[in-house]
Point group: C2
Chain length 210, copies 2
């Protein structure tokens, strides 16, 4: 979406001690495919704190009912993750003189993460205004979260309209040793249902459907 607005994109991927490399590799593929001007990987090891199935040795839930998936803050919640990632993006943006930070948080289909809500993004924008040289000098950083109010199938539709190859992307919490999606974690199930709603198959699950 930022590229479609003609912006020069400097991508940031955060290695925070994820259980797997698959999403990091996918980020590189997608950045290259979409013509990013730059792509950096920042390292912060959140495993030192523990507390989440995405970083600690806690099992990722599989094959859950829909109500279980949406009821509570899930075990895959990484404490303060989006705050930490946006803070790193803010440092990067300030160094390169960027005008805006774009992130893909989404509030609708999966509401258990407190740091995916519009109020959180607005609070971060205010923090960024007060925290930075650019903000102090009257050029506050814009924080863009264009997916925040979209449902998952609307995100897929928007991506397809922009020519995104979803076969390059990765959403699974617990891929196999070849980096392929499991099809059974909450993230895979929600994504598959969204493709189905558009009458499409999820290309990331082609190896399971075969």
């Amino acid at each position: 979406m930022a590229r479609a607005e003609g912006l020069e994109c400097h991508c940031l991927t955060v290695r925070y001690g994820q259980r797997h490399q698959a999403e990091l590799e996918a980020a590189g593929r997608v950045a290259r495919a979409l013509g990013a001007a730059d792509h950096r990987f920042a390292d912060v090891d959140l495993r030192v704190f523990g507390g989440s199935a995405l970083t600690a040795e806690i099992e990722v839930p599989k094959d859950r009912e829909e109500e279980a998936m949406t009821a509570d803050i899930p075990i895959t919640y990484v404490p303060a993750r989006n705050t930490i990632m946006l803070s790193l993006a803010l440092g990067f943006a300030e160094v390169i003189g960027a005008e805006s930070i774009w992130c893909g948080v989404n509030a609708v289909d999966y509401s258990g993460y407190p740091d995916c809500r519009p109020e959180f993004i607005a609070a971060f924008a205010e923090l960024a205004r007060l925290a930075t040289k650019a903000g102090v000098e009257g050029r506050p950083m814009r924080i863009e979260a264009p997916l925040i109010h979209l449902q998952k199938h609307e995100i897929i539709r928007a991506g397809l309209d922009l020519g995104v190859d979803f076969g390059l992307t990765h959403s699974c919490y617990d891929p196999d040793d070849q980096g392929r999606a499991c099809g059974r974690c909450d993230s895979c199930r929600i994504r598959r249902a969204a493709f189905h709603r558009l009458g499409l198959a999820d290309p990331a699950l082609a190896h399971l459907d075969a």
Copy 2:
């Protein structure tokens, strides 16, 4: 100050690619001396972004006049550093179920850092309320910055009253290879002047006064 209030303290030191290890070692000494319950080191490499004399290969200014020290945002400003460090503290605090985060930011004597101001701390507290499970559940994290309005000599006075051994502490931006303070960077000069104002010598500079 937190210990004097009877709190159990879980310390966090962030290794962000500092030019030197001296402040990390000092943090360990101080945490042990004050009876911290726990002390963790989180790693995040801000050198991937560059942009500051404290992380990049830019020279630390020495022997500056007082007006030069306080006029502008200094080259030792690390973009978004306090935002990033507080975000990491927020993740740690959330995992261990802490009630408050204490940080030593100070707005008075050295006002060039935008992320040391009371408005910044207030904005972070609001972000923390919205970003976390505890905040969502009605138990927002308190962000304490008890030094924020104190002048440097008042901070030293408060520390001495609480029995702090300032010989264990470290403030220098550019210590020698034995970890000893240079006495000439802005941080050393401001600290020395604050000790002098109390009629005292800075124990961290004893090797230079000898």
